[in-house]
């Protein structure tokens, strides 16, 4: 290194700077605009914000708090909270922007804020910004900075060409690697928990997958749902519809993760979890009518609370709609058997082949038990009244599906499905009928010819997206916006179904009243017509004096928030209270179990 020498005159060379402009600027006369990526004060679009709180979770300095918005009734899929930022703590790292699930939280170029009131530095971001000047956007999230994993791990299916002649389950389930990766996408906001009718602890059990602790996961599942094997396969997954990740990406496969836990927890751990829940103290006995989702759930939780529980089931097997409605390719018997096995194992007594009202009187139940829970479901078909609908080849879904299940279980003969059929309906059950019939056609004739007609237009089809896509893959033809008009019969044989274009579904008051345009009709050829326009309850088992006391709303029974009916000792739940959906049944079962416990404990 060569060192510079001291020079007396050198410092005077700086004099040239006296004539140069100063490098400083005169604030506030002059302002300096921030750079394009500047991380300044936040703005938040309240329309988009769902209050998921992910920004608060990632905040390294705990500057963000979620606070309840007063008098705000948030819609489904949204929390009534919004972020509040403490600018005394905020370090403007921008991680909150990178991870914002909806993209509502943004950073502006605004970086000057002066106020003599220190409380104003506790700021609730709004669109207008802290200076109320609608500042320009600064730092922006892009796919490089994004801290969410937006892509869903796709579920492996058996190919449609291989699955359409078989009732074997075609969804293969996640491998460990896949499940962990899918679980790692969750931001633990809990909006799913709010949406789930049974309020399952979804973030917690997803977390247990990520932490490789499936026993813990099973524990969380059984907190709120004793049918995880079933719900892990066929739940309507309302949770996924509201998943925070779905705003910018694909929702987390919550249902398949649930299935992963139950499929992969070692039997020993599983048993330990389920059995450890039971309280040994016996307090009373409860009778339950119907061993469907709701009845089984109520039985499980009542049993864990220490009650003796008897379930009466008219059919040969327990399970209700899970056993006799949903096709086997979606819900194999072994999954259902596993759930029922553990419910039986904790001491629930299921009495099958016993129809209340016939084999045992309802009044006997009243005398025998401290409380009775009815959950008989919507197991009766609903018939359509159009010309020709009384023909013997017009078959209702709930008459057909049990036969298919019996056949798939090797306990019944192959249902008599014709070569060319038409299904009326566009819901999940209609697809169950169509896809089951298609499988039988494939087995019988080696060729599929199934036409579905639905009142709704394509976007509003009530069936789940999976069903629509998979149905199409299997060769089902869907005709939306088609209202059935007439079933054409010639020489006592069905020729087909005539439909007319459906213009609107509801009248001005919002009542269901489909309007058809009879000038635009279509004829769907077919020799058999299946009707899947909903199911109905059957209350024959209830004595008249009870029926009079009960409050019916349409086909449903009215209960209070504990599942209690007008009659003190009678509780109800499931389809007959909240309409058909397994997870509703589970929720009602759990709720009523707590309600019954409350009632009996107060009596004591």
């Amino acid at each position: 290194m060569k060192e510079p020498k001291a020079n007396f005159f050198s410092p005077f060379k700086g004099i040239k700077y006296m004539v140069k402009k100063p490098v400083t600027i005169r604030v506030p006369k002059e302002t300096r605009e921030a750079a394009g990526r500047y991380r300044g004060f936040h703005t938040n679009d309240w329309e988009d914000c769902i209050g998921c709180g992910t920004c608060a979770d990632i905040c390294p300095t705990d500057a963000i708090n979620m606070e309840k918005v007063p008098e705000y009734d948030s819609p489904e899929g949204e929390k009534d909270e919004r972020p509040v930022i403490d600018y005394g703590r905020c370090c403007f790292c921008g991680f909150c922007i990178d991870i914002c699930t909806t993209g509502s939280l943004k950073m502006s170029k605004d970086y000057i804020y002066i106020n003599e009131n220190p409380d104003t530095f506790l700021y609730i971001p709004e669109e207008q910004g802290i200076n109320k000047n609608f500042p320009e956007e600064g730092y922006q999230r892009n796919e490089i900075t994004d801290l969410l994993d937006l892509e869903r791990i796709s579920m492996r299916h058996v190919k449609s060409s291989k699955r359409k002649d078989s009732f074997l389950e075609y969804v293969k389930g996640f491998s460990k690697e896949e499940a962990k990766r899918e679980a790692s996408r969750c931001v633990e906001c809990g909006i799913c928990t709010d949406r789930c009718p049974a309020h399952m602890d979804i973030p917690e059990y997803i977390n247990s997958i990520w932490d490789d602790d499936l026993k813990e996961g099973t524990k969380w599942l059984y907190e709120t749902n004793p049918l995880p094997n079933v719900c892990g396969r066929v739940c309507t997954h309302k949770c996924e519809e509201v998943c925070a990740i779905s705003h910018r990406g694909e929702p987390i496969a919550i249902r398949w993760l649930k299935r992963y836990i139950v499929d992969n927890t070692p039997e020993k751990d599983y048993e330990e979890v389920v059995l450890s829940n039971v309280s040994k103290k016996s307090k009373g006995s409860i009778g339950i009518v119907g061993a469907g989702p709701s009845g089984l759930t109520a039985a499980y939780y009542l049993r864990t609370l220490g009650y003796n529980v008897d379930i009466y089931e008219e059919k040969e097997y327990a399970g209700g709609v899970m056993r006799y409605g949903i096709p086997k390719y979606r819900l194999p018997d072994k999954a259902l058997d596993k759930d029922i096995k553990f419910i039986k194992k904790i001491g629930v007594n299921i009495i099958t082949n016993t129809r209340v009202g016939k084999d045992i009187e309802f009044s006997d139940l009243e005398n025998k038990y401290d409380a009775v829970y009815i959950s008989t479901g919507f197991m009766e078909p609903r018939y359509l009244k159009i010309e020709g609908s009384d023909h013997k080849d017009v078959i209702a879904a709930m008459d057909f599906l049990p036969k298919v299940r019996d056949f798939a279980r090797n306990e019944g003969k192959i249902p008599d499905v014709y070569k060319k059929i038409v299904v009326i309906g566009g819901g999940d059950v209609a697809y169950d009928v169509g896809r089951s019939a298609a499988r039988i056609q494939m087995i019988k004739y080696g060729k599929i010819d199934v036409t579905l007609t639905a009142l709704e237009n394509y976007e509003d089809l009530p069936a789940s997206e999976d069903e629509i896509i998979e149905g199409r893959e299997e060769g089902l033809e869907m005709y939306p916006s088609s209202g059935p008009v007439k079933i054409l019969i010639e020489k006592n044989k069905i020729k087909g179904l005539k439909t007319a274009e459906c213009i609107s579904l509801f009248d001005d008051n919002g009542n269901f009243k489909p309007e058809l345009n009879h000038d635009n009709t279509t004829f769907h050829k077919g020799t058999q017509v299946y009707i899947s326009i909903g199911q109905a309850p059957n209350y024959d088992y209830l004595p008249e004096n009870l029926k009079e006391k009960l409050n019916f709303v349409g086909p449903k029974i009215e209960t209070d928030e504990n599942g209690q009916t007008n009659i003190d000792w009678l509780f109800a739940g499931g389809d007959i209270v909240n309409g058909p959906d397994i997870i509703n049944g589970v929720a009602d079962g759990h709720n009523s179990a707590k309600g019954i416990d409350k009632l009996l404990n107060n009596n004591q």
Partner: protein, 366 residues
Amino acid sequence: MKEVKLFHGPNHPGMHGNFSVHLTVDGDTVKKAKPNPGMLHRGFEKLMERRLWLNNIALIPRVCVPEPDLNEAVYSMAVEKIQNLEIPERAKYIRVLMMELARISVHMMSIGGIGGPTGVYTAPNWALADRDLILDIFEKITGHRVYHMYIVPGGVRQDIDEKTFRFIENTIRDIEKRLKDYKEIIFESPIIHKRLKGTAPLTKEQALNWGVTGPGLRSTGEKYDVRKQFPYFVYDKLDFDIPVADKSDAFTRLYLKYLEVKQSIKIIKQVINKIPKGKVRLKLTGTALKWKIKKGEAYGKVESSRGEFGYYVVSDGGRSPYRVQVRGASYPQGLYGIEAGLPETRLEDVAIWLDTMGVCAPEIDR
């Protein structure tokens, strides 16, 4: 004569940062010196243990205020080592760019900093104005001027576009032009020569015994630089020299920093020419809230403006580090060096000693 105890801390214009030394002086000569850290103590290492892997990026720049980027880089380096993550080539170049820009900015601050202890206030005025030009670059690249939170495990947070590269080029050229003036006004100034030459000497033996690295060690003639000895990122693909001096005193140590600025400018120019296209970031699995790093431990080290700077990171496979140990570059001279080397210095030279040794308070207090 009677010994007097003196407090030499942030009250002194020549003291950088919230650090103080308790001096026992006899007349004008220091007899005993005791470093008194703790004014900046936040418990960084402990705080890191309860923060997510990503969240630490927002915390650690504070371990070294004037040169925050290297904390992010060295932490990310250690994390990537544990995770066996090979970051994209472009990200490596960008990291080098950031670190060299940071080196310029912190050396500018050091050169300016000499104005406090010596009274040459032209130096801080100029140097800090030029440092601000570097901060303008940082603002354009990262969105912030001082704490950038830009280098993350897996790469860097954002890409740099062509326009910004041109801006960097122009700024660097401006600074390069001004370096001649620095030499004339500061390093040829008779006052600086009088005050710095022969002041605060450091022998090679002392430097090696204490564990001093960086310009301190290099000024004694030892050509040790982590960038050359243990090349990280893409330093092995870049052409630059390591300036050394034969005799260490306050002047040579400061002048080395000036020469290093020139080398950094050389590196930056090469980076801008050589940088390949491609990705700048690899993502860890899942959302940042759920990031996990494999079980393991690793030491990442880089050459900071004050010497070897390292993070020892231990992961137990969870969402936060199990333990992080920071090796602050100025730790040896800042704690042991003060006790061993400061005595027998004249009182008016204490500030020069602390400044040119590069004592950085938060590193010691981390």
